[in-house]
Amino acid sequence: MASSRRQFLKKALAGTLAGALPLSALRFVSPAEARASIGNAATRWVFLVDTTRCVGCGFCVRACKRENEVPYDVPVSRTWVERYVVTRDGVTRADSPNAGRDGFTDPRIRGESIPNEAITKAFFVPKLCNQCETPACVQVCPVGATYQTNDGVVLVDRSWCIGCGYCIMACPYGVRFFHPVHKVAEKCNFCYHRITKGLETACVAACPFGARRIGNLRNEADPVTRTIMTERVAVLKDEYGTKPQVYYIGLDERVR
C-alpha cells in the first residue's frame, strides 16, 4: 500500500481522535435531566447553626448516619459535633469522640479530667459541609464528579468519582472522606434528596433544641434568611475565600 508520510500522519491523527471519543459523549440528556442536575435558581440553600442552643446530644449525627447510609460504627461522618472547654489559664481543649455521635456524657476530654471550678466557658459546635459559594472541592475535581447545583448545593456523582482524594485535600473544613462501602468521595449534601422534596434535612429534623435550621437565602420571608440578614452571624474559616454558606450564631473565636 503506497502512503506518503503526510497521509500516514493525517490518518493516524484522525484515528487517534476517533478512538479518543467516548461513546458516552454521544448520549443525549433530556431537558428534565439537565434541569434536575443544575437545580432551581430561585433557591439558595443555606444552613444556620445556633451554637448557644446545641447541647451536644449527638441526635443529629446519629440521624445523619442512618439517613445517608454512612456505616454507623466507622469513625467518619457527614456531620459532627465538637466540644470546647476553656479553662481559667486560657487554654482551650476540644474533642469530638466518635464525631459526637453518642453525645458528650464523659466529662473528661481525651482522658483528661478538668475540675468544674477551673472551667470558664464550655460549648458545643455542630459542623457540616459549608456548601461554599466558590467550593475548592469543585475546582479541583479532575473529572467533574463533584459539582455544584444551581441552588448552591455541592454534590458528588458516585458513579463517576475516581477516588483520587484531591477534593478531600482541598476542603479547608475537613468535611470530606472516602465512603467505606462505595469507595468514593463522600460528604454532607444538606440531605438534597429531602430538601428538594420540601422536607427538612435529617439533622434538622432530629435536633430537639432548634440548634440546626435550613433555609432559602433567596426568600426574604424565610426566617433563616431574616436571621442571617439581621443578626450577628459568622462563618468558619472565611480567610480561604470559599464563601461558606453555613452561618453560625454565637460562634466563638476559639472554634477552629
Partner: protein, 409 residues
C-alpha cells in the same frame, strides 16, 4: 474499612474525618515524574546544547526516560480508590483541576519522547530491516517488528539523516519546557491546595522542577555507572583485568560521570537554595499556620527534614561531589544519597503536609504498611512502592531489546 484508618494515628484535636489520605503512592508519584523529567533534561543537554561528552549518557537517558514514563502513571493508578475509572480524567477533563491537566501535559510529553526516540533510532530500524531481510532463513517476527517501527521510512541517505538530527534537536528543545512543565505542574497540584498550610506556596512548582532535574540526573548517572561496571566486569572476565578494552570502558565512564556531576551540582545548589528560601520565607512571614508548621518542622519531623533530607540527602552528597579527584565509588555513594534526599523531600511534602490537622490543634502520624494483608495495604504500602520503583528497570530492559541505547554507535 475507612481509607486511611490502617496507617493513621491521631494526636490531640483532629477533625473526625481527617486521616492521611495521600500516602506512599502520592510520594512515589512526584518522585517518579521527577525522574522522568530529569532524565529528559539530561538527554537534552547533548541534543540541544551540544554537550558532546554527554553523548553516550544522553542516548541512554532518553530511552530511560521512556522507561520511566508509564511509571509516572502507576502510583496514581495504585492510589485511586476506583482505578478502573482512571480513564474518566481523559473522558471528562475538568480544566479547573490541576490533576486534569495531567492527561494533556503527560500525553504531549509522551509523544515528544517517543517521537524523539524514533528519530534517534530510525536509521537503526532501517538498517535492522535490511539486515533481517538479507537473511536466508527470513526475519520472522523480529523483521515484522522492525518494519512496524520503521514505519516505511527506509531512507538512510545523508540528507535524510540530517533531517532526523534536526527533528531530534527541535523535539529535544520543545521537550525541555514540556518536561519542566510536567513536573512544575506536579508541584502545582500541591502548591495550589490553599487548605494545606505546608503546600500552599507559589514556590512549590519551581522547587519540584529543580529537585526533579536533580533526581533524574542522579538516577541516570547511577544506572549508567551500574551498567558500565557490569560491562567492565564481563569484559574483564572474558579478556582479563588488564585488557585495554576494560581500561577504555573505565576511562569513558569516569569522563562522562565527571562531566555529568558538574551539572548535577549546579541543579543541586538551585534546589537546596529554593527549599531553604521557602523555609525562611514561611518563618519570616509567620502566617497564622506558622505555629503548627514550626512544631512539625522543628519538632515532629525534624529527623526527616533536617537530618535525612537536608543533611544526609543534600549536604553530604554535595561535599562528596565537590571534593577533588572524583572516584566512581564516591560518586555512587553521593548519587544514592541524592536519590534518597529527593525521595525524603517528596515524603516530607506529602506526608509532612498531612502531619497536622486542619484544626491547627492536632497531629496525625503515618505508619507505612510494611507487610500487606489486603489489596489496599499492598497498594499503599512498602511493597506497592517497591513495585513502582522496580518497574522502570524492567521496562528499560525490555525497551533495550528493541532500541539498543547502550551499544549502538
Amino acid at each position: 474499612m475507612v481509607h486511611g484508618l490502617e496507617w493513621t494515628t491521631k494526636d490531640l484535636f483532629v477533625y473526625p474525618n481527617e486521616f492521611i489520605y495521600w500516602s506512599i503512592q502520592i510520594v512515589m508519584y512526584p518522585y517518579m515524574t521527577g525522574l522522568v523529567a530529569g532524565a529528559f533534561v539530561l538527554s537534552s543537554l547533548y541534543h540541544v546544547f551540544g554537550q558532546k561528552d554527554l553523548k553516550d549518557m544522553a542516548r541512554f537517558s532518553l530511552v530511560f526516560s521512556l522507561a520511566l514514563l508509564p511509571v509516572a502513571l502507576m502510583p496514581l493508578m495504585f492510589h485511586l480508590q476506583q482505578p478502573l475509572r482512571g480513564i474518566n480524567v481523559m473522558m471528562t477533563p475538568h480544566f479547573t483541576s490541576a490533576i486534569a491537566a495531567f492527561g494533556i501535559v503527560f500525553s504531549t510529553y509522551g509523544l515528544i519522547v517517543v517521537s524523539e526516540i524514533w528519530f534517534v533510532y530510525r536509521e537503526y530500524f532501517a538498517n535492522q530491516v535490511r539486515v533481517l531481510e538479507g537473511r536466508p532463513e527470513g526475519g520472522g517476527l523480529k523483521l515484522l517488528g522492525y518494519r512496524l517501527l520503521a514505519m516505511g521510512a527506509y531512507d538512510t541517505s545523508d540528507a535524510a539523516l540530517a533531517k532526523d538530527h534536526k527533528a531530534v534537536k527541535i523535539l529535544a528543545g520543545v521537550g525541555i519546557p514540556v518536561a519542566c512543565f510536567l513536573h512544575g505542574y506536579a508541584g502545582f497540584i500541591f502548591g495550589s491546595v490553599k487548605a494545606n498550610a505546608l503546600w500552599m506556596s507559589p514556590l512549590m512548582p519551581v522547587i519540584f522542577i529543580m529537585s526533579a532535574v536533580v533526581s533524574g540526573i542522579a538516577l541516570c548517572m547511577l544506572t549508567y555507572i551500574v551498567i558500565m561496571e557490569w560491562k567492565k566486569l564481563t569484559t574483564s572476565l572474558a579478556r582479563g583485568r588488564g585488557d585495554t578494552s576494560v581500561q577504555a570502558i573505565g576511562g569513558v565512564e569516569i569522563d562522562v560521570i565527571t562531566k555529568a556531576s558538574r551539572y548535577l551540582l549546579g541543579f543541586l545548589v538551585a534546589a537546596i537554595t529554593l527549599e531553604i528560601l521557602d523555609l525562611v520565607f514561611r518563618g519570616y512571614t509567620a502566617m497564622k499556620s506558622w505555629d503548627i508548621l514550626r512544631s512539625v518542622m522543628y519538632g515532629k519531623d525534624f529527623l526527616n527534614i533536617f537530618v535525612l533530607q537536608y543533611g544526609l540527602g543534600n549536604l553530604v552528597p554535595f561535599f562528596l561531589l565537590l571534593l577533588g579527584r572524583l572516584t566512581i565509588r564516591r560518586t555512587l555513594l553521593a548519587l544514592v544519597l541524592i536519590l534518597f534526599g529527593v525521595f525524603m523531600m517528596r515524603w516530607n511534602v506529602v506526608i509532612g503536609g498531612q502531619a497536622f490537622s486542619l484544626s491547627f490543634a492536632g497531629y496525625m502520624h503515618y505508619h507505612l504498611p510494611l507487610l500487606p494483608h489486603s489489596l489496599e495495604t499492598y497498594k499503599e504500602g512498602l511493597l506497592g512502592a517497591l513495585t513502582v520503583a522496580a518497574t522502570p528497570f524492567v521496562l528499560f530492559w525490555l525497551i533495550n531489546k528493541v532500541v539498543p541505547s547502550l551499544r549502538y554507535e
